[in-house]
């Protein structure tokens, strides 16, 4: 029997009962919501750690209660091989990447913006030079470059984060450049010039503030994820914060032997912290990108 769709009315509200993942706007909001939740958690934990407002003293060694499993009275996430409270150490571990990560983000955004504006606004030789610079930076595996810096200087987290920041410059600058070129295509810049606006006003106010703001926020979240990944990787490799000061990376490393004995929580608690935090920053970046920059726009 042939179906007839003629009675389909103009509006079919019922079709809005799509599975939720098809409602891209809701999915994006969920991404951003989760991301903001993680960011808030990280910031609060950082502040708590700075003022030493912790459930337990993270350095308090308790040899009677070593490797206590999660849920042990007084130790929500258990204790490590020296009987120290894992939850407290996780919270304090944020200190290891928080400020250095912000430094990396700042460097990437600042230099990325400057180069992006030069390449996008001036074009020509600047653009070529920046393309070469980008290719040059992209030639190094980031971790190898950092190890080189460690060997040449010292394993200082701020040196490391300068490298992380500088290696993120090309991504930021190419986004800014793309945006400016897009605005130029739309005669946005000419309009400003013909209105007699000074170049500084056009670039700072009309280009950067009005049009690149969201882009910079997105890049900041992605940059922070990179910084956390690098800090945890390096402290895992033993180049970052050293025992007894906790960092998520060295906690995973210290728990390795116990992991193999089936006492997973020592490594797993910091590893999952890394996972959920980086996931949060990634989803925040992508969600914001879809919402603010309208990549899905359909």
């Amino acid at each position: 029997m042939m179906k007839s769709y003629t009675q389909i009315s103009g509006e079919i509200g019922e079709l809005s009962k799509l599975p939720f993942w098809k409602k891209t706007d809701i999915v994006d909001l969920a991404y951003v919501g989760y991301g903001l939740f993680i960011v808030t958690l990280v910031v609060i934990s950082y502040i708590l750690g700075s003022f030493n407002l912790l459930p337990k003293d993270p350095q308090d060694i308790n040899l009677d209660l070593m490797i206590a499993p999660p849920g042990t009275a007084g130790h929500l996430l258990g204790t490590d091989f020296m009987g120290r409270d894992i939850l407290s150490r996780l919270i304090v571990g944020i200190q290891a990447y928080f400020l250095p990560g912000l430094l990396a983000v700042f460097i990437a955004l600042f230099f990325g913006t400057v180069l992006g504006v030069l390449a996008g606004y001036r074009g020509g030789r600047f653009e070529t030079a920046i393309t070469y610079f980008t290719n040059l930076v992209d030639s190094f595996p980031r971790l190898v470059l950092i190890l080189l810096v460690i060997a040449a200087f010292k394993p200082n987290i701020y040196y490391i984060m300068i490298v992380v920041g500088l290696t993120n410059v090309p991504v930021v600058s190419s986004h800014i450049k793309g945006k400016i070129q897009f605005l130029k295509q739309k005669n946005f810049v000419e309009a400003g010039v013909s209105l007699g606006l000074p170049t500084g006003t056009i670039i700072l106010k009309h280009i950067l503030w009005h049009n690149c703001r969201s882009l910079l926020i997105i890049q900041a979240t992605i940059g922070m994820a990179e910084a956390i990944l690098m800090e945890t990787s390096l402290s895992y490799l033993g180049f970052g914060v050293q025992e007894p000061t906790p960092s998520w990376g060295n906690m995973v490393q210290a728990g390795a032997n116990y992991f193999m004995q089936g006492k997973f929580w020592l490594s797993t608690a910091p590893a999952l912290s890394i996972l959920f935090t980086i996931l949060g920053f990634h989803l925040l970046g992508d969600g914001l990108n879809n919402i603010l920059e309208g990549k899905r726009g359909k």
Binding site: M2, K3, Q7, I8, G10, E11, I12, L15
Partner: protein
């Protein structure tokens, strides 16, 4: 030789679901057309009138997610006979409440598979299609000659590479491409738009299809090249007698090539009949929309009589919220007091007013 029309579209409806508006866009809303063997049917209308969607529905190229097609497209050539929309609606399930569709879901994969199964032996072999913007319609990574050879090897008995190449070169020559042997090796980017469209036409006709669908074949080309492509199509028509469905917003191209004409407005056919009757110079016994279209042709006569070119006032119909009456009512300048009520609240049907000449307008009904 089989009898009856080559293509018979009955009550074709193609609706797309708009996610943002949460409603169906009725791009094609009950179209019935016939194309006789050897005839050229011109379909004319503004953009958004549903003419291209009609063609794409015939080709089974409607792939947009939650869209539905209903009706019947009977195709009957010397080699096959089938309904091109066979069983498609089995992949759509409806929840009907109080005679209204409340929910609609579509098995996209099944629909697609079924459509591919039906259209597999039709596309290219039985029905070939040429598009607007020929430069982007040819594969930029493959020399044009290769693209024609591919079609020949797919759909004709010529499987031998060398023979297919000779045939392709003969076709390039036939569509009047200079030095076809040289052009055979060229990529689309090295050729002009007109040249690409000739290659497209050669590719479409090389498999000797029963039906050629030309969807806006001159759009996107320079004016002088447009007329050359039209000339080529006219020549090929008289030489080969290929049955054609010609779609254009340009009524002068339609009038040059068509035997019969369908005028489309808002997803429906508003006037349908022999080209002579519809495109005749006198404005009597025509749908007001056709009249307006004819008046907008930049011809000597139109300019001399009015001193200016008449544009059709108003906007193209919103095919989501279709008004209850005639779809052209809002833009019509020939509504009379006697029929106004009908025009506003009752949709006219497509009625025969002269042998073979149908119009959808209250003006001609008693």
């Amino acid at each position: 030789m089989t009898t009856g029309p080559l293509l018979k579209i009955e009550d074709l409806r193609t609706y797309f679901y708009s996610r943002s508006k949460q409603a169906f866009i009725r791009s094609v809303d009950g179209v019935s057309l016939k194309i006789k063997r050897g005839e050229t049917l011109g379909i004319v209308g503004e953009s958004g009138s549903g003419k291209s969607i009609t063609a794409l529905s015939v080709m089974g190229l409607i792939s947009a997610g939650p869209g539905v097609i209903s009706g019947k497209i009977g195709f009957k050539s010397a080699r096959m006979q089938k309904n091109l929309l066979q069983d498609l609606d089995e992949y759509v399930s409806l929840a009907i409440k109080d005679g209204k569709i409340m929910q609609l879901s579509k098995d996209f994969a099944g629909w697609e598979k079924n459509s591919e199964r039906i259209m597999g032996r039709v596309r290219g072999k039985e029905i070939a299609m040429i598009f607007q913007n020929p430069k982007s319609s040819l594969n930029p990574f493959v020399p044009i000659g290769k693209q024609i050879t591919e079609a020949i090897q797919l759909h004709t008995s010529i499987k031998n590479e060398q023979k297919a190449k000779e045939r392709a070169i003969a076709w390039l020559d036939r569509v009047k491409i200079d030095s076809p042997r040289l052009r055979f090796e060229n990529y689309p980017y090295g050729l002009s738009g007109g040249m690409c469209q000739r290659a497209m036409i050669a590719m479409a006709l090389a498999c000797e299809p029963s039906l050629l669908i030309a969807d806006e074949p001159t759009t996107g080309l320079d004016a002088t090249i447009q007329s050359k492509i039209v000339e080529l199509l006219a020549e090929l028509k008289s030489e080969l007698g290929v049955t054609t469905m010609l779609i254009s917003h340009d009524i002068s191209i339609i009038s040059r090539l068509s035997d019969s004409v369908a005028v489309m407005y808002g997803g429906t056919v508003v006037e349908y009949g022999p080209a002579r009757a519809i495109l005749a110079a006198d404005f009597a016994s025509k749908h007001p929309y056709t009249t307006a279209l004819l008046a907008s042709i930049p011809s000597e006569r139109n300019i001399r009589e009015k001193g200016y070119l008449q544009a059709i006032e108003g906007d193209v119909l919103d095919t989501i919220n279709i008004p209850p009456g005639c779809r052209f009512y809002g833009r019509c300048n020939r509504v009379t007091a006697g029929i106004r009520e009908n025009c506003a609240f009752k949709e006219p049907d497509l009625r025969e007013i002269a042998p073979g000449h149908k119009v959808r307008c209250w003006l001609y009904f008693d």
